[in-house]
């Protein structure tokens, strides 16, 4: 998995966005409007159609 930018197609919450992509069990961060945050601290936050979210997987080495 790599950092990917995804365009939001319709208004929803962060939780809905994560669930639709089946990412709730994957360690990731999100970036929206230049700010990175943990999805589970922001589940109720609303995102709108047209927003571009970067999905940032946390990657372990070694």
């Amino acid at each position: 998995m790599r950092i990917e930018k995804i365009k939001v197609k319709e208004d929803k919450t962060i939780k809905e966005f994560i669930d639709e992509l089946s990412l709730s069990a994957v360690p990731i961060l999100l970036e929206l409007d230049g700010e990175i945050f943990y999805p589970d601290d922001n589940y109720d936050r609303k995102i709108q159609a047209g927003d571009r979210l970067a999905v940032i997987p946390i990657i372990a080495g070694g």
Partner: protein, 268 residues
């Protein structure tokens, strides 16, 4: 490759091995990434001199210790006073003693709060160097695995992880078992394998860490810290001999692809 524009690379010292020269790593990054600002910021907890905040962070860090590598950790057990005090001493830079195993993702989450709000974007590469040993859970074999690095915000690179995570030669572990049964000190065993793996206080440490710092940079640049080429600094080594080859012995620093990429970056 779609490339992220980088504003700055920030390096922090969360109690890395004393032999790690962070200034040398900063200089190296300046040479590799001529157009990106590089800043060494020292102790990431330094902006929090207030005693209560330090105690709070110490308690949270003490709470993310892994007790049993074969069991997924449960949260909620209060840490002991001595454990909190130890973490406080670590945070305040009064000790660099390591050996405790932490949950890497939880640790990273605590460190995330040290990053200034305005710098929490992919334009900024934050790298915490420390000697905390951390692990991540592997659902496939259902146990924790010690790691060298965790790329995220911030990226964490552990000097203890460099020693402990990539596997040593099999003969080492077999002999170690014998030594333990005979009650012999393992320092003698290390002598026999001198140079074959990166050890604590190893003078090669800084050189090795340069490669891992570049992995953290590439993570932000292109979304992937690693390379399949065993001779490239971005190779994700799981064995000590692979690590030594990629970071110290390969004829080239970066593979053709990554070397060209860096060249282009520095020209544009």
């Amino acid at each position: 490759m779609k490339v992220q524009r980088l504003n700055k690379i920030l390096l922090y010292d969360d109690g890395a091995a004393r032999t790690l020269n962070i200034e040398e790593i900063a200089e190296y990054l300046r040479k590799k990434l001529a157009k990106v600002g590089i800043e060494a910021r020292g102790n990431p907890f330094a902006p929090y001199p207030v005693q209560d905040k330090i105690s709070d962070y110490a308690k949270r860090i003490a709470s993310v210790k892994i007790q049993d590598a074969a069991k997924r950790m449960s949260f909620g057990q209060e840490p002991f006073y001595a454990e909190i005090e130890y973490e406080k001493r670590r945070i305040l830079g009064k000790t660099r003693t390591s050996g405790v195993l932490y949950n890497g993702l939880e640790l990273q989450r605590i460190f995330f709060e040290m990053i200034p709000r305005g710098e929490r974007s992919l334009e900024f590469v934050h790298i915490f160097f420390n000697n905390r040993l951390f692990a991540t859970w592997d659902e496939n074999d259902r146990r924790y695995h010690a790691r060298v690095s965790l790329c995220g915000i911030p990226s964490i690179i552990s000097t203890t992880g460099i020693v402990e995570a990539p596997a040593k030669p099999r003969e080492y572990y077999l002999l170690k078992q014998q030594y333990e049964m005979l009650g012999k000190d393992l320092l003698e065993l290390k002598d026999r394998f001198k140079g074959v793996f990166i050890d604590y206080e190893d003078e090669r440490l800084t050189e090795v860490v340069k490669g891992y710092a570049m992995q953290a940079v590439f993570y932000s640049l292109v979304g992937d810290p690693f390379c399949q080429d065993k001779g490239c600094r971005l190779y994700n080594a799981h064995w000590q001999d692979e690590l030594i080859f990629a970071q110290l012995e390969s004829e080239y620093e970066f593979c053709q692809r990554h070397a060209s990429f860096l060249e282009e970056m520095n020209e544009n």
